[in-house]
Amino acid sequence: MSEFSDWFKDTFKGCYCEKGNLVDERRFSEIVQLVLDNEADEESRAIFEEKIRTCVKSCGSFEKEKSLRETIKQKLFDHKKDIPNDLAASIKKSINL
């Protein structure tokens, strides 16, 4: 997905860090998603890491999104439905295994 790195650079171009002003929050939020989903290529990830290392607002947004994601994920994961006891056996039986 190397096409993303230009998109990363382009998004960060308009960010005035010294004013704590992340210009395009929507695009930043999509970039964060790619990073957290491990879908950003190495170059894009490096650009992103440099950005959050030097921009307080970007770093704060990233950390918040990361924590939210982990919390929601964990709670959904812990709330999985128990599989009916007989399901695996009845599947095997239905195909004569």
């Binding site: 790619l34 879908e39 939210l68 929601i72 994920k73 709670k75 195909i95 295994l97």
Partner: protein
């Protein structure tokens, strides 16, 4: 159910010729370990234990019937999820006990519109979500349209990559990315509304 519906890409898959013994081994060792994930996916689609059970059984029967379309060494879990998703769309969605009927095109076009930017900055605090219980988060997830709910389940609960999701759902990777982004924002919106109603933000 056509053979094309079980294939994981648009190209014609080379058919295998497994012996009965090989087919039984593949089914037992490569397909059956995913039954738990399959049941949870089915339940989150249908909201009904019996329907989920039927959907999983139906999926496994189809998987066995078309086992020669499965190539060993490829992703069995993604292959099974694709069959389940197609079965749900073709057969179960019609009789699903899900109460809300949603025009998915309308939802897609709304979330594709420029208005989306207005809703992107949901103020949902991490502490608020930490106070919620699994039931509440699950209800919020269940409250978003099935096409959006599906991408969250596949990505966050089942760990599929965008490429795998693209094959399971028959949509381009770019659509996976944008749908997932919108889905997560919809979930956050639901959670924020719920938190406000329950006074979690006080």
């Amino acid at each position: 159910m056509s053979e094309q519906e079980v294939n994981t890409d648009n190209q014609e898959t080379q058919r295998q010729k497994y012996s009965d013994k090989e087919a039984a081994r593949i089914f037992d060792q490569e397909f059956m370990p995913h039954v738990n994930s399959m049941y949870n996916f089915a339940y989150r689609l249908t909201f009904d234990e019996d329907d989920a059970k039927d959907l999983v059984q139906d999926t496994y029967l189809k998987a066995f019937r078309f086992i020669n379309s499965f190539e060993q060494g490829t992703n069995a879990k993604a292959w099974l999820f694709r069959i389940l998703k197609n079965s749900f769309i073709n057969e179960f969605r019609k009789k699903s006990k899900q109460p809300a009927k949603v025009d998915y095109n309308e939802v897609e076009s709304y979330y594709n519109s420029d208005d989306i930017d207005e809703n992107i900055t949901t103020d949902l605090r991490v502490e608020t979500v930490q106070h919620m219980i699994g039931d509440e988060i699950t209800s919020a997830l269940n409250g978003i349209p099935v096409d959006f709910r599906t991408v969250i389940i596949l990505s966050d609960l089942e760990g599929f990559t965008y490429e795998e999701m693209s094959k399971i759902l028959d949509i381009p990777i770019g659509t996976v990315r944008s749908r997932l982004h919108r889905a997560r924002n919809m979930l956050k919106d639901k959670l924020a509304v719920y938190a406000k109603e329950m006074g979690y933000n006080k």
